[in-house]
Each structure stands twice: as structure tokens, then as C-alpha cells.
């Protein structure tokens, strides 16, 4: 349960940065924090107490595998999610750099041209 709580808190802290921080770089950092939290949560969801990693490198594991390993699917999903996360971060950072090159500031208040 501690894992769940911690990862949810991580998500929330990340979201907090998105909601409150006025620096766009900080917002991107918050998003990446959120990603970390989400990944942690997913992996914790796949965990089964007392099981081993889903790598069948010992003969013993070959039989009756499902009673011996943790759920590999969430891990596979997280693998994808992490890569996607870094991709989003990269694009986000390029957008931030582009924004900075336009106005020379990272303050969100300067980026309110589009509204209403």
C-alpha cells in the first residue's frame, strides 16, 4: 500500500507543479515527475509478493510458471510508457526552447497571447 500511496503522491506532486508553478520548465519537470509516479504505480500493481522476476533463466521456472513469477504485462506496459514519456519530454523541451527563443523568458504569464 505504501507503494501505491507514494506513487500517487508523486503523481500529485507532479500535477501540483503543473497547476501552480509559473515557470514553464518547471511545468515540464512536473510532467516528468508525474510520469515517474505513474510508472511506479503500474509496476506496483503488477507486483506479487514472494515471486521472482519474469525471466525464465532457471529450469525450475519453466513449469507452473504462473505461480512463481510476478505479472510481466504491467512491466511491459511500463517499458513502453517510459519511452513514450521521454519522447514527450523531448518534444516538450524543444517547444520550451522554441518559446524561450521567441520571448527570452520562461515565465508563463508572458505566454497568454491566446485567450478568450
Amino acid at each position: 500500500m505504501a507503494f501505491f500511496t507514494a506513487s500517487i503522491l508523486l503523481i500529485l506532486i507532479g500535477l501540483y507543479a503543473v497547476l501552480v508553478k509559473r515557470n514553464i520548465m518547471k511545468i515540464v519537470i512536473g510532467l516528468s515527475l508525474m510520469d515517474t509516479g505513474v510508472n511506479l504505480l503500474i509496476v506496483s500493481l503488477g507486483f506479487i509478493r514472494g515471486r521472482t522476476a519474469p525471466i525464465i533463466n532457471v529450469k525450475d521456472l519453466l513449469f507452473n510458471t504462473s505461480s512463481k513469477v510476478v505479472d510481466p504485462l504491467p512491466q511491459a506496459l511500463v517499458l513502453t510508457a517510459i519511452v513514450i514519456g521521454v519522447a514527450v519530454t523531448a518534444v516538450a523541451l524543444s517547444i520550451v526552447m522554441l518559446m524561450y527563443s521567441k520571448k527570452g523568458t520562461l515565465e508563463i504569464d508572458e505566454y497568454k497571447e491566446l485567450k478568450w
Binding site: 507503494f3 507514494a6 508523486l10 519537470i29 515527475l33 515517474t36 519511452v83 521521454v86 520550451v96 520562461l106
Partner: protein, 81 residues
Amino acid sequence: MILEYFMIFLLVLMLILAVYVVETKDLLAAVIASGFISLVASIVYLYLQAPDVAMTEAAIGAGLTTLIFIIAIRKTERYEK
């Protein structure tokens, strides 16, 4: 049992670091700290029997992400107003 307490310690550490990341004015420090969070997370993944994820998180989350953040901060500004 000790392992579990250690894990809880790590989780708390992550949260503290996360708060630091959010609240510090120094973006570079924040990025380094968030990389550290990923590193801690990868240890946690090991505990959760997810070596693949642990590797990925260490390589991508802690390494690559931090790196591109640092580059981006170098190209923009280091301190939050």
C-alpha cells in the same frame, strides 16, 4: 523486513526529493533531483521484481531525461523567478 523498511525509506526519500524538485528555484538542481528520483525508483523496481523496468528507468529516466533537461536548461535559464 529490513528490505521493506528500506523501501519505505526510499519512497519517502523520493517524495521529499519530489517536493524539493517542485519548490526549489534552481532548475538545474531540480532536474538533478528528479534524476535522482528516477534512480531511486529504479532501485524500487528491482525490489518489485522488474529488472527490465529498472534498467530502463535508470538508463532513460535517470540518464537520458536528465541529460536533455540539462541541455535544455543550458540553452535557456537556470533560475526560476
